[in-house]
């Protein structure tokens, strides 16, 4: 073979395969991907900085808006961190309701992802059917919390709403319907050759690479590694609930699909267990409107639908945190994506990126790195604005 010509295809910041802006610069040789560069930073919103000037109750609703899909994760994880710092004992019923909401969120997040994955491989029929059945879960979420997206159900010291008995009955019915549909889709995906053609052997991530590149969540479990915060470091009531950590050793996109389907079925069992063992009692303890957190440093781990979510709280006492830091699962998976992309076809790029269930708005942070001196620094919004104005005055 003679010298071949490589050219560069930009995937993003605006691309139909990406629901949020992000840039993947893909170097291709014909249809082969030779190299990939990932450039985050198109969706910075300054949420971490904003937490430093708000009270804890205000932060609760700010953090809910970190992500539209896993709002419960960020909110409840923040509550756990604050309660840990305050040494607050939460009623058992509240913890069970939090767990139910947590797992319902996994159901809706995974089924959303399954639909998106079908869309990425051009199978729109499957996409529409899965999203139709996802409405069962969305309706139940609305019945429980009053909202479809930002559920706003946990609060510091408990939860804001109870689950009445007639709703428990409807919840069980809805779960039965949903379970049957997910079982059907799983068997369909495993049998349908045209789907398997696009998923088996695509985006390989070996167990060794998965650990070395610090992949998290279903991406890691699809490489055969049994790692789940719920089992490894139980929070809420996961130490009481019997459940399996689902893994698959295919290491490819197909096994990521299977792992997520299995996790949905397992989540349904967790919710059923919670409904069976829902204790009586109050759903929250009273905390003052202006929460004061003593001097403390807390790291709170959480298994979000996309993987391990880390919240870090540093308080120096008072009504506002000194520093709040979020490490969302997508950031943990990005180095692995680069590895997965190389050696595949252009046609596989969307499904490989989608296979980690990326959520870039949760991920973006702003750090400036001078490539010549390798010095890095962080600016806040005001500094950046001033710099921007100055730059334009000088250069226009």
């Amino acid at each position: 073979m003679g010298k071949t010509e490589e050219f560069i295809i930009p995937v993003g910041p605006q691309h139909p395969a990406l629901k949020e802006p992000e840039n993947f610069t893909i170097k291709v040789d014909g249809e082969y991907v030779v190299d990939a560069k990932i450039r985050p930073g198109y969706n910075h919103r300054g949420i971490e900085k904003a937490t430093e000037s708000r009270t804890y109750i205000q932060i609760l609703y700010l953090l809910e808006r970190v992500c539209g899909i896993c709002s419960i994760c960020h909110m409840t994880n923040f509550c756990l961190a604050v309660e840990e710092a305050m040494n607050l004992e939460v009623p058992a019923r509240a913890n069970y309701i939090r767990t139910i909401m947590h797992e319902i969120e996994r159901l809706h997040s995974h089924s959303l992802w399954l639909g998106v994955a079908a869309h990425e491989i051009g199978f729109d029929t499957l996409f529409y059917y899965i999203w139709r059945d996802r409405e069962v879960i969305m309706d139940l979420t609305e019945r429980i919390s009053g909202n479809r997206v930002n559920k706003a159900i946990p609060t510091i010291g408990g939860v804001r709403r109870d689950i009445p008995p007639e709703l428990i009955r409807d919840l069980r019915k809805g779960l039965d319907v949903f379970e049957e549909r997910i079982k059907y889709y799983k068997s369909l995906i495993l049998k349908e050759n045209t789907v398997l053609n696009r998923a088996v052997g695509v985006g390989i991530l070996t167990p060794h690479d998965a650990v070395a590149l610090a992949a998290v969540g279903p991406t890691l479990r699809a490489s055969g590694i049994k790692s789940d915060v719920r089992a490894d470091d139980p929070y809420l009531v996961f130490d009481e609930i019997p459940f399996n950590v689902m893994t698959h050793d295919g290491c490819d996109v197909a096994s990521r699909v299977i792992v997520r389907c299995d996790e949905m079925l397992e989540s349904i069992n967790v919710i059923r267990y919670c409904l069976d063992h829902l204790p009586d009692g109050p759903i929250r303890v009273k905390v003052p409107v202006i929460v004061r957190v003593p001097e403390a440093e807390v790291i709170s781990l959480w298994e979000a639908p996309r993987g391990e979510l880390i919240h870090y709280l540093k308080s120096t006492g008072g009504t506002m945190p000194y520093r709040y830091k979020i490490r969302s699962p997508t950031l943990g998976n990005l180095p692995a994506v680069q590895k997965m992309l190389i050696g595949n076809y252009i046609a596989d790029v969307p499904i490989i990126i989608a296979a980690i269930d990326p959520c870039f708005s949760c991920t973006d942070r702003m750090t400036f790195v001078n490539v010549n001196t390798e010095k890095s620094w962080v600016w806040n919004n005001e500094q950046l604005r001033r710099y921007g104005n100055k730059w334009y005055q000088q250069n226009s």
């Binding site: 139909p16 014909g30 491989i121 029929t125 046609a347």
Partner: protein, 337 residues
């Protein structure tokens, strides 16, 4: 009495010429969208006109009014010519396919070859369109279209030649009349033989129809062969830089291509605009082509998109041998009849 020349011109412009074809193409787009949507458990267009029947018109008019941008780096001549030819070529094909009666507007020995050539030319246009837009997605889309053509063109030509062998003619109008001639022929001969010949003819033609439908899906760039424009991968592929009037022409061209493909399927395998009952040929034409479009929509809803390497491999490994076997069967059948 109206002079014959005037009638011919009216036929060219009004019916079954340009006006009818454009109206019919937009109607078929609506049928396709509505049926496809219902298969996917959606409603499809529903607000413009009765059940959204005017939605394709609304889309077309809106696009015609939009700003037309030609990229600065593009090869302007080719970039501008591609949409015009992309509309003109399917229209040309339509004049070679019978609509109003047994004979097409233009009919001569060898027009089947011309039609196959025109379909190939369409893909060349796609390639030039993608290439001249000087966009990485456009270039990849154009390359994919060319690669795709290499794999489906041979089975398409083989499938189209089958009925021609049986009809002993290379004119599409003759081929369209062949099934009625065959029925006349069979009803004169003895009963068991005619049933055997008729059944085997139906079976062989069904295989050919299947192959031809698959190739037409690839020609029309529909799922599972929408590889050149794969929205989630290369953002519309070769069409990515087209906007405004040019995009409107491309879309209209695509719709007329859909009519041309279904008309060709009808003419080659379903007996053209002729039928057993005394119904006007134009009605037969509309019924049969609509059925062909429904078949295409149904296949579209069933599959995910192939990858270009999978498509090429699958076509050469499976469809080409089947097409060759089909030609052998057709030859044997032709010897019996």
């Amino acid at each position: 009495m109206v002079p014959a020349e005037l009638l011919k011109i009216a036929e060219l412009i009004v019916f079954p010429g340009f006006l009818f074809l454009i109206v019919y193409a937009l109607f078929l787009e609506w049928v396709d969208r509505k049926f496809f949507a219902r298969l996917q458990n959606r409603y499809g267009p529903q607000h413009t006109g009765w059940k959204g029947i005017l939605q394709p018109w609304a889309d077309l008019i809106k696009l015609l009014a939009k700003e037309d941008i030609t990229p600065a780096a593009a090869d302007k001549t080719i970039f501008t010519l591609v949409p015009i030819f992309y509309l003109a070529i399917p229209l040309t094909v339509m004049f070679l396919v019978p609509i109003l009666g047994a004979n097409a507007y233009l009919s001569f020995q060898g027009d089947l070859i011309v039609v196959i050539f025109l379909f190939t030319l369409l893909i060349q246009l796609v390639f030039f369109g993608g290439w001249s837009s000087v966009n990485t997605f456009g270039i990849v889309g154009g390359m994919r279209a060319a690669l795709q053509m290499l794999s489906y063109e041979i089975p398409m030509a083989l499938a189209a030649i089958g009925p021609a062998i049986l009809a002993k003619s290379l004119s599409i109008s003759d081929i369209a009349q062949w099934p009625s001639r065959l029925i006349g022929l069979l009803s004169n001969s003895s009963m068991p033989l005619s049933i055997a010949v008729g059944a085997s003819a139906i079976f062989v033609m069904a295989v050919g129809f299947g192959i031809f439908t698959l190739c037409m899906l690839a020609e029309l760039e529909k799922v599972p062969f929408d590889i050149p424009e794969a929205e989630t991968e290369i953002v519309g592929g070769w069409q990515v830089e087209y906007s405004g009037k040019k995009l409107a022409l491309l879309r209209l061209g695509g719709d007329i291509e859909l009519v041309a493909a279904s008309a060709l399927m009808t003419a080659l395998f379903l007996g053209g605009p002729l039928g057993p009952w005394p119904i006007p040929p134009a009605v037969w034409f509309i019924v049969k082509t609509t059925i062909c479009v429904l078949i295409i929509s149904n296949v579209r809803a069933l599959f995910p998109r192939f990858r270009i390497d999978q498509m090429t491999y699958w076509m050469w490994k499976n469809i080409v041998p089947i097409a060759v076997l089909y030609i052998v069967a057709v030859e044997m059948l032709a010897a019996v009849i």
